[in-house]
């Protein structure tokens, strides 16, 4: 009985301390959400308070109007357009490439694989300048193309992640499909692709996040306000020199986090398992 009590006490201490920790960790996020509902006076006078004196929705309405006559609807549309196309392209091409490395024996496979792994550690700063000049020569500046087209060529991180998954599938599957008259591509589409769904979803989520949050790419390549993505628009919207409506800035910040947040809630199982098993960075 005494031992039971002690266990209970330990358990309470454990959960309470985690909740305290969680409060400190989530304070900034809660504060952001609270601020998005406050009026300007409330924002500065009760800066730290998590409960607005009066819940205002006007920040969202005003923020949504955007700037320069262009509303956030346009920015969200641009972001979704870029993110959806490049995520689908990136995941599919990475899966095909991973299949090639994992299941087909061809001359030079090892060599190219080492090349690919090496690029994982490459700082992108080294390639960004020539890439910029290349896209300039192609007349792609101020278009979505520099942000979308490279996605069609796979991403080493995802290739590696999917490959790890393919290695886990028994070879007998391929053998029996071959006996049934399946070619190499038939095996890929009918056998492998359906089986690696969890790896595809994990890659898809990360691709979505990285593309959604990408700031450097849009900053470099997009000039027209009409073409801005959400992240670039938010930066311009929140420039310390230009901001007058703080509440609206917070409101749009909250909105910009929503897609990532929703995807996280829906797919969190795949995400947590994906990172734990593959060691993928977030």
């Amino acid at each position: 009985m005494k031992k039971n009590n002690q266990q209970m006490l330990k358990s309470i201490i454990y959960h309470v301390s985690i909740c305290v920790l969680a409060f400190f960790m989530f304070y900034p996020v809660l504060w952001l959400i609270a601020s998005s509902f406050k009026d300007t006076k409330d924002l500065f006078q009760n800066a730290y308070q998590l409960i607005p004196q009066k819940v205002l929705l006007s920040n969202y309405v005003e923020g949504w109007n955007g700037f320069g006559g262009i509303s956030f609807a346009t920015f969200f549309k641009n972001s979704f357009f870029i993110v959806i196309i490049s995520t689908v392209a990136q995941v599919f091409s990475s899966a095909l490439i991973a299949y090639g490395f994992g299941r087909v024996t061809f001359i030079g496979r090892k060599f190219w694989f080492v090349c690919m792994i090496t690029t994982l550690m490459l700082p992108h700063q080294v390639i960004i300048i020539p890439q910029y000049i290349l896209f300039g020569k192609l007349d792609w500046l101020n278009t979505f193309l520099p942000l979308i087209v490279p996605s069609f060529f796979g991403l080493p991180f995802f290739i590696f992640l999917i490959l790890q998954f393919i290695y886990g599938l028994p070879f007998e599957l391929d053998e029996s499909a071959k006996i049934d008259g399946c070619g190499k591509f038939g095996i890929f589409f009918r056998i492998i692709l359906p089986l690696i769904k969890p790896a595809l979803i994990t890659s898809g989520i990360f691709s979505f996040y990285w593309k959604w949050q990408d700031f450097f790419g849009p900053l470099l390549y997009l000039q027209d306000t009409k073409k801005y993505t959400v992240s670039l628009a938010l930066k311009m919207f929140s420039d310390p020199a230009a901001v007058t409506n703080w509440g609206a800035m917070f409101a749009m910040s909250v909105l910009s986090l929503m897609p990532a947040f929703l995807i996280f809630i829906i797919f969190q199982k795949y995400l947590v398992e994906g990172i734990s098993t593959s060691g993928l960075k977030g």
């Binding site: 730290y48 700082p123 992108h124 700063q125 390639i127 910029y132 930066k235 990532a260």
Partner: protein, 302 residues
């Protein structure tokens, strides 16, 4: 027979190259060619409008001998990387150990604590951070309320504290290494701990003598990945502090961006990029080299 086998092999080769073709083409166009061009550019003067002009080692000479901001940005970046990475990893390990216990709700906690990492790289969080630590931000309001501070001062505007706001933001995003640590913790055999507690080792001793040594391969992996990405940090400093005040948060990536894309000094920028590549390569290989002293692989011990 041999003819047929050769045909099969040719077919396999063809299929293999078709499969990896997207990567191969992308590798040549978007990675290999740019790396080589950027190496060439680093020896030129190039402003995009006119043709690159051969300059020999002039860029490198300027960088190492006369560029004070280069040195400053290098120092800032080192400080940032060598403070933020250990903080992030220590915090990740601490939380992972808490969540490795078999208790109720742990699955939920694990998911919850990953959330900052999901949103951490976004502009929205950078904007939030800037306000949080600003003059009229929540931190000041709390400190004044608690009587710990008399006059509000900007944590971002002060050269002494500005970099720390970025380091705290980096530590806040400990989710990925935490999940990797958790996976590592699960693989430590329970029998190790049972044997240790029979021998009378307390929790603390068990942590230092069993948990840490068993985790060294995972710590090694996390350390490498986080160090590399630490050197490339850009968005946060660009939005929160803009490198200021007085260049106290001028991270290397931002300095490079300024040189290349604000002043269009592409040759100079390329040289900076190559120096960054070398620095990362040196650090990565140093960590790899050092690993034989502190990383323990189970299979090796036999």
């Amino acid at each position: 027979m041999t003819f047929k086998r050769k045909k099969v092999r040719d077919h396999e080769n063809l299929v293999g190259y078709i499969c990896i073709a997207p990567w191969l083409i992308g590798f040549f166009i978007f990675t290999l060619m740019p790396i080589l061009t950027s190496f060439y550019f680093s020896f030129t003067k190039y402003d995009v409008i006119s043709m690159p002009e051969w300059h020999g080692l002039a860029n490198y000479k300027d960088i190492f001998l006369t560029d004070a901001r280069f040195l400053k940005s290098l120092l800032v970046t080192f400080k940032y990387v060598f403070l933020s990475v250990p903080f992030r990893l220590a915090f990740a390990l601490f939380v992972a150990v808490l969540f490795a216990q078999k208790r109720k709700m742990v699955g939920l906690y694990r998911t919850l604590f990953y959330i900052p990492s999901i949103i951490g790289g976004s502009v929205a969080v950078a904007v939030m951070w800037r306000q949080l630590f600003g003059v009229e931000g929540a931190l000041n309001a709390i400190l004044i309320k608690l009587g710990l501070l008399d006059n509000p001062s900007s944590w971002i505007g002060n050269p002494k504290t500005a970099l720390w706001t970025l380091i705290i933001l980096a530590a806040w995003q400990f989710g990925s290494p935490m999940l990797i640590f958790l996976a590592g913790l699960k693989q430590i055999p329970k029998s190790f701990y049972e044997a240790a507690s029979i021998d009378g080792a307390n929790r603390f001793q068990q942590f230092w003598r069993i948990t840490i040594p068993s985790l060294t391969p995972v710590i090694f992996f996390n350390f490498i990945m986080q160090t590399i990405s630490g050197f490339m940090t850009f968005t946060q400093s660009y939005i929160i502090t803009e490198g200021g005040p007085f260049d106290s948060t001028l991270l290397y990536a931002q300095y490079l961006f300024e040189k290349a894309f604000r002043f269009y000094k592409m040759g100079y920028g390329s040289a900076l990029a190559w120096i960054l590549l070398l620095i990362i390569a040196v650090f990565t290989s140093l960590i790899f080299k050092s690993s034989s002293y502190w990383v323990f692989y189970e299979s090796k011990e036999n």
